[in-house]
Symmetry: C2
């Protein structure tokens, strides 16, 4: 097919007639690698500085955003993890005294969790360092590259296909 097939060195053909799935696979491996690196370094930083895992940090971030508290089911949806996982995380955060739990007044099956003052204070500090850590990690990357990385990642995300494409042209 595709007519470059005759009389072309095999090595050059790869760029012209891409193997289906080749680029996508390389993209996935690159994503995996960057994710792994960042995850490990954020996780270890949070752990040594604040005794927090990234998982716990994510819970605190949700509760910081929803100051009126969240039911465990909502937490589980927002974090995109299973209920059983949230159950355990909440128990450990309760033990750390970073969150509080009370029964919902409307639904006796439901529990509402909130940040404690201690949890809020810890999250504020941790979020600050979290941000700085990422800024430092990428300090050598030009701002333009960061912008285009962000927009290209958005364009790959599943929800992007269903949204109305408001293409704000860069620059």
């Amino acid at each position: 097919m595709i007519q470059t097939d005759w009389a072309m060195p095999a090595a050059l053909k790869e760029n012209v007639v891409p193997v289906p799935g080749q680029i996508e696979t390389r993209l996935w491996l690159q994503l995996l690698s960057l994710h792994g690196e960042l995850f490990a370094s954020l996780n270890s930083m949070l752990n040594s500085e604040f005794g927090l895992s990234l998982a716990k940090f994510d819970v605190l971030a949700q509760l910081d955003r929803y100051r009126d508290g969240l039911a465990l089911g909502q937490l589980s949806q927002n974090l995109k993890v299973t209920g059983g996982n949230v159950s355990g995380l909440v128990q450990r955060l309760l033990a750390d005294d970073l969150i509080s739990r009370e029964m919902s007044s409307e639904d006796r099956r439901s529990f509402i969790v909130r940040l404690t003052p201690k949890g809020e204070a810890l999250f504020r500090k941790a979020a600050e360092i979290h941000k700085k850590h990422l800024a430092k990690r990428f300090e050598n990357v030009p701002a333009r590259d960061l912008d285009s990385a962000l927009s290209v990642l958005k364009s790959l995300s599943s929800n992007d296909h269903t949204e109305s494409k408001k293409q704000s042209r860069k620059r």
Copy 2:
């Protein structure tokens, strides 16, 4: 759009004078989200079609690449996971009869693992579907966007700063 720049409340101007770490954090969240989505869908596909987890698939991929076998320590380095983790993975893959293990002839502390014929056959099929799955996931993304996503991810990876920048200009 954006012509709203005159007489703009400070709160809106944040795009002009970026908060340090803001973009980096958004980038991280976007990366996390895409990673999570792809990981879950690949993992669940491999599991239902082949009884494989992504972790096991990754081990098989390494052993497919190194046909002479790998010591557990090398496996652990290549996969960037701890030795304890590899230990368990190898035990489960042995139980699945997908890999074989023998003592190294040179070093009696060392074990060499290899694909069994069954493991190789399974990996071939799984790698094929893995590739197709990714291709399908991104079928609506223009090839140009995939290329730029790949190159921007590479530019964010830590090893990129130390490499000689051979910028193959696209197009």
